[in-house]
Amino acid sequence: MSFWYPATEAPALSNVSFAVAGGEVVALVGGVGAGASTALLVAADLAPRVTGGQIEGIVSRTERSGIVLPTPWTQSSGMAFTVWDEVAFGPANLGWPAQEIARQVDHALERLDIAALAERDPITLSGGELQRTIIAGVLAMDPGLLLLDEPTAELDPAGARAVWRLVRELAREGKAVLVATSDLDALPDLADRVVWLEGGAVRASGAPQLLADDAVCAAGLGTTVAGVWRAARLEPPYPLTVAEAVRRWR
């Protein structure tokens, strides 16, 4: 698949191919402007349908998708008085019966650990609380394919860890997850596969072991441990995580 934003000559994505299956977590990594966010928009059927632009190639989906964009405050509905209503916004728009909506919303609030915030006005929430509310709102729509663009950007480290744990749980439950993130150190435990995007094209893809690959580290996209190993001019293959490094050291 290749994609051009409206009125641009250079493609935002060129000849990108990958697949995500139910139960899998695939991570998109790349620098600013590499095309990860665009790829998510295409997967969500928002590009070119809502963004405009041109697309070539085939995109096939077998599940309804839900996307979480990186800036929480642009995603709040703007018409919910309480967090509960905000999370219920999506399901209500899908026309589900009220009981089903209540069930999904309560479940989503619990999973994101924000049930205590249910009666709060979304305007008063902190960035992290709002981000979790938005994620809950998308989760409540029960999508088969979950698309996450920097879902932990506003969260503190404890909150980020909780979200990654939730992602793995969702994959175990059979959802397909495609996530773009710059939190590379979290990927070895999080992702089943990693796709490296550069300048809109796929440079490499494979198991998270890719993040210890020499070329990837040279591009600044390896895990911290792999990066340190490489900077110390030790021999590849580099360890991915602290645990692996400690094992190897002994």
Binding site: L46, W73, T74, V138
Partner: protein, 219 residues
């Protein structure tokens, strides 16, 4: 006191100015302005009465400079009614309830949302405006001083707000599309506001009063 149905609120906010403009001044103007200001007072001094008076004041000043006392009074009262009605509506109408009311009636979800989104953008923008003012002040922007200074200050405060708001609109369209707000969506009303028969009758009554006033005026 339970809040009235959003449609009733809209009806009242539209009726008062309509009557002020159609019925003979200054009696009608005094009555409707008094009613409208009374409504704003129910919202409290800070959020209701004071903003209404503050917004209407410049108009009185201009009228006073341009017209004689009688015309000033007549038009001034009508404008005061309009301003006060709008201020009351902005404070009393909850956008979420309006959308739910529209949706419960079977109106298009997208149209309902457009109205609600416009109304509810206000608190977000107000909070952001405050953040921008603080940030620019910390960069040395002084709102005091010469006229040139003040103009520069205005640009540094208004532009970021406008630009970021416009930019938001783009992103918001994407986000809403993904949450199911698409043309043709049939939304389940979550909290449809109660619409007792009495209020419905009252609304029709208000419409009749307006039409009656217009007819009486023309005839």
């Amino acid at each position: 006191m339970r809040a009235a149905h959003p449609f009733t609120q809209l009806a009242v906010a539209a009726t008062l100015p309509a009557l002020a403009w159609t019925l003979p001044a200054p009696a009608a103007g005094i009555a409707t302005a008094a009613l409208a200001l009374g409504l704003t007072a129910t919202r409290g001094l800070r959020r209701g009465l004071w903003p209404a008076l503050l917004t209407a004041a410049p108009f009185w000043l201009f009228l006073f400079l341009l017209h004689d006392a009688r015309t000033t009074l007549a038009i001034g009262l009508r404008i005061t009614t309009m301003v006060a009605s709008f201020v009351w509506l902005a404070a009393a109408l909850v956008p979420a309830r309006l959308v739910e009311a529209m949706v419960a009636r079977g109106w298009s979800v997208s149209a309902a949302y457009l109205i609600a989104a416009t109304l509810s953008a206000v608190p977000t923008l107000r909070a952001r405006a405050q953040r921008i003012v603080e940030a620019q002040r910390c960069r040395g922007l002084s709102p005091r001083g010469s006229l040139r200074n003040r103009m520069r200050a205005l640009r540094a405060l208004a532009m970021p707000l406008l630009l970021s708001a416009l930019h938001d609109v783009d992103e918001r369209a994407l986000a809403l599309a993904t949450r199911g707000l698409v043309p043709g969506a049939r939304r389940t009303p979550l909290r449809a506001p109660a619409d007792p028969v009495l209020e419905r009758l009252a609304r029709w009554g208000l419409v009749l009063v307006c039409v009656g006033a217009l007819v009486w005026r023309l005839v």
